[in-house]
Symmetry: C2
Subunit: 176 residues, 2 copies
């Protein structure tokens, strides 16, 4: 993994890919699938996300205030769905689905080796947790895997239907 | 436009497409381009979005509490970028870019005829506006255009680079 400038982190999440979210609590790491996230600020990068309190990860994220957002490419789609279909309550999902936890630099939750990007995050605002299960995360460190050339991501359309990134088009834009 | 069940509205926004946001203020409609949005709740559908206070639409959205989120397909990409590159301060963007405003049912801002889906929204939580320019919208009415068969959307990767929806894959998922 190679360090990515924090100012470029938004380019990974703004397009709306399905991501993995790792947490670590009481000596145990866990991973969930997440699609409800958005950028809030460019730099330092702030990300809002919804983690349902029905998810096992909710308690870990609230208690520790730390997470890693890992971005999987299309080749991981089957594993991503298995992660979403199971709970860390009764399963070590890393071992069960062949995902490799790697130590992060600034947080306890692990990076996911198989993902082409990993964002180390800290919870910086807890005011929307009770009402919306919404966490505001600040990205403290961003990693990109230069060895993964195919970075097509997947987008969830409901009930197991995913759209894979297609062609890239370039248009003259003043938008960042 | 045909009415879409509110319980299916999330399937339009969860995949992270670039959308248009219309507002109406002091007798004048406006439209902007938006990529920072996420689902917050399935039903009634709640959507969080960031509208920068540097945008002309910010004041209209804050003052009126109403907006329409319109979802453009790939064929509108060039217009979407033009909308993003200009400001309603000095331009009627509907007329300038050949977008057709249609009356909405429950809000003053118009639907966009050329978009394959339109979501009529009301602001239901203003507490994050000052800190994050974040609005929580409730979708009150959803429309889909059955005549538009090609609903491939575009996803912004920064600086005018967009990825178009590619192939759809189906995986056995318990996720809604």
């Amino acid at each position: 993994m190679k360090s990515l400038p924090l100012s470029e982190a938004y380019q990974l999440l703004e397009p709306g890919p399905v991501v993995l979210l790792t947490t670590a609590h009481k000596g145990r790491a866990n991973v969930m699938t997440m699609s409800w996230h958005m950028m809030v600020e460019f730099e330092p990068p702030l990300v809002a996300c919804i983690v349902s309190n029905a998810n096992h990860s909710f308690a870990a994220l609230r208690a520790t205030g730390e997470a890693v957002i890992a971005v999987p490419a299309r080749k991981l789609a089957a594993k991503v769905v298995k992660v979403g279909n199971s709970s860390g309550r009764d399963l070590d999902k890393f071992a069960a689905f062949g995902l490799t936890p790697l130590p992060a630099e600034s947080v306890a939750p692990p990076l996911v080796k198989e993902c082409f990007a990993n964002l180390e995050c800290k919870v910086v605002d807890r005011r929307m947790i009770n009402r919306y299960n919404m966490f505001i995360l600040e990205v403290r460190k961003a990693w990109i895997d230069p060895a993964q050339k195919n970075r097509k991501t997947i987008h969830h359309h409901g009930y197991g239907r995913f759209v894979v990134d297609g062609a890239t088009i370039k248009l003259k834009s003043r938008m960042r």
